[in-house]
């Protein structure tokens, strides 16, 4: 938590224009927010950092819920095609001038259900390889459809391209307002899945015999995870690997019970995404890298390492 606060503060002062912490403090004391630097801070950087922080928490939370739901440590909103589904839904809805967040949510939940059915959800257990193959294939398919749609609407091409790559650039308070309620709703819903996810991990027969209403829990996981993924896509576009890495590292460090895993993963996800956002606007400053590129460059080596070492048991 303390680390998150520090990085949040750092994210406010780093950027193309330097704003010092002293300046911020003076402004807070004198109630004078009109200086140029402070306008940057309050109209650009503050909402941007809030968006990055919330997205990180949502992606990590959704990753945790999906990993628990699919009982597989490789599930992640990006890898199982949910983020691409949300993006496609959002882009389609924006073309028809409908409410974009709803499109993102419908796209996300549609993608999860497709992957679930294809990966063998009706059978007793998921085959991990089928899950990944189905997720990856559908993800590529959705991305291709998204590209086609964007190319047909070339006026908004660049903006949409940036958005699908993931970026918090130029997103002000209105985005914070849009995602605030769905964020809170999905975070609460995800916390409701914590205890059931522990039980679910014992296997589907065992979970039922322990008293878990399997169908209800599945629906809750699907809805909360999809809402979180979709909200994160609304806030920052498709950002991969946060949902994969955060729960994985927290599980190694703090154990597997979801009561700890969920909140700690969310905090860790926030930290990771804030760091990635800082990197995305400093490495090539004053140009900005899409944040999806930063998380991919950092995340892929980690992902490969998990693949190489497999799903071995880690203590605690």
């Amino acid at each position: 938590m303390a680390l998150l606060a520090i990085i949040f503060a750092v994210s406010l002062v780093i950027g193309a224009e330097k704003v010092t912490i002293a300046e911020v403090l003076t402004a807070l004391q004198t109630q004078n927010y009109s200086a140029f630097h402070l306008r940057i801070l309050f109209t650009l950087r503050l909402p941007r950092s809030i968006l990055a922080m919330l997205s990180g928490a949502l992606l990590a939370g959704a990753g945790t819920v999906f990993q628990g739901f699919f009982r597989n440590s490789l599930a992640d909103p990006g890898l199982i095609g949910v983020s691409s589904g949300a993006t496609l839904g959002a882009v389609l809805f924006s073309i028809f001038s409908l409410f974009i967040p709803l499109g993102a949510f419908l796209g996300a939940i549609g993608a999860v259900m497709l992957v679930y059915v294809i990966a063998g959800g009706k059978k007793t257990s998921f085959e991990p390889s089928r899950l990944l193959l189905a997720g990856t294939a559908l993800g590529v398919f959705f991305s291709a459809l998204t590209s086609i749609v964007i190319l047909m609407k070339d006026k908004e091409l660049y903006k949409m391209y940036l958005w699908t790559q993931g970026s918090f650039n130029g997103k002000g308070w209105q985005f914070v307002h849009i995602i605030l309620i769905p964020s809170m709703l999905s975070i609460i819903a995800m916390f409701l899945t914590a205890k059931p996810l522990d039980v679910l991990s014992s296997g589907e027969k065992t979970a039922q015999s322990l008293g878990l209403p399997l169908q209800k829990v599945r629906v809750l996981c699907l809805i909360s995870g999809s809402l979180a993924s979709a909200t994160a896509v609304c806030a920052g576009g498709t950002i991969g690997f946060i949902g994969l890495i955060a729960p994985h590292i927290i599980r190694i460090l703090f154990g597997s019970t979801h009561k700890k895993l969920l909140p700690l993963s969310m905090i860790f996800g926030s930290i990771l995404l804030l760091l990635a956002d800082i990197l995305s606007r400093t490495i090539t400053a004053p140009m900005e890298l899409p944040i999806g590129i930063v998380t991919a460059v950092l995340g892929v080596p980690f992902f490969l390492q998990i693949l190489l070492h497999g799903k071995k048991g880690i203590g605690r």
Binding site: S73, K122, K195, V199, K205, Q208, G313
Partner: protein, 266 residues
């Protein structure tokens, strides 16, 4: 008390082949029951259905009924059924490396609320089961780092932490060495007798049945061959009918119960 009436079930893709066919039987409270029969005779399905588990693709015929303590099993809510019946399922593994204690604590899920943390009572009960199964020293170990015998003890501790009147064990000892199997069965028998709980366990080692159970259910291709006193099964041709091979019997030199051996192979 468990009463099955005309229990029939089949898989969606093959309605002709019944996994269970008109199984009717009656188990009294306090009975320790062995469920015997060849592979694919319906032992697991029988236990799953009594525990109220939805098995994907498995359809139970409408004429079937399972009655637990005079009440139809369908009328129980998932949680209240799990307060009455616990099942140690076969072939199921945890997906994450929980600690032994956390795994046993999950046995209390049916007694706890959806959101709130486990109560003091739940935690005490889990600690007590660790002691009773003699695995307190494993408390903080990862369940992925246990030997087969230790793991099965943890699973039995979890099932007992559920504190149900009826305990269903699906081939709980198949991969255990003879000493682990014997000591665990002795322990389960002792605990069941103390608490006057009902135990149904499917076994492949048929000679364990006379040592540890007073009743036996014998299945063959989904049909009930016999349900009665274990001493009855270990005489006559019931076993021969169920397993399609000839059996002979002899008296156990130490425990003074009947044992069987195969006299001809098909």
């Amino acid at each position: 008390m468990i009463k099955l009436q005309n229990l029939s079930a089949y898989y969606e893709q093959n309605p002709q082949k019944k996994v269970l066919q008109d199984v009717s039987l009656f188990i009294e409270k306090g009975d320790i029951v062995s469920v015997l029969g060849p592979n694919g005779s319906g032992k697991s399905t029988l236990l799953s259905l009594i525990a109220g588990i939805t098995v994907p693709g498995l359809i139970t015929m409408k004429s079937s009924s399972i009655i637990l303590d005079g009440k139809n099993a369908d009328s129980y809510k998932r949680k209240s059924l799990s307060q009455k019946v616990s099942l140690l399922a076969q072939h199921e593994q945890y997906s994450w490396p929980f600690s032994v204690f956390d795994a046993v604590l999950m046995g209390r899920y049916a007694h706890s609320s959806w959101i709130e943390p486990y109560s003091k009572e739940d935690i005490d009960s889990a600690e007590y089961q660790l002691e009773e199964l003699n695995i307190t020293h494993l408390r903080n170990r990862s369940i992925f780092e246990l030997s087969g015998g230790e793991y099965q003890r943890v699973m039995i501790a979890r099932a007992l932490a559920q504190s149900t009147e009826i305990l269903l064990l699906d081939e709980p000892f198949t991969h255990l060495d003879i000493n682990s199997q014997h000591s665990l069965l002795t322990l389960i028998k002792k605990i069941a007798q103390q608490k006057n709980s009902t135990v149904l366990m499917s076994l492949h080692d048929i000679n364990a049945a006379p040592l540890f159970s007073n009743k036996t259910i014998l299945l063959r291709e989904g049909n009930l061959v016999c349900c009665g006193d274990t001493s009855l099964i270990f005489s006559g041709d019931y076993l021969s009918k169920a397993y399609d091979t000839e059996f002979g019997f002899f008296k156990h030199p130490y425990y003074n119960v009947m044992q069987s051996y195969i006299t001809s192979a098909v």
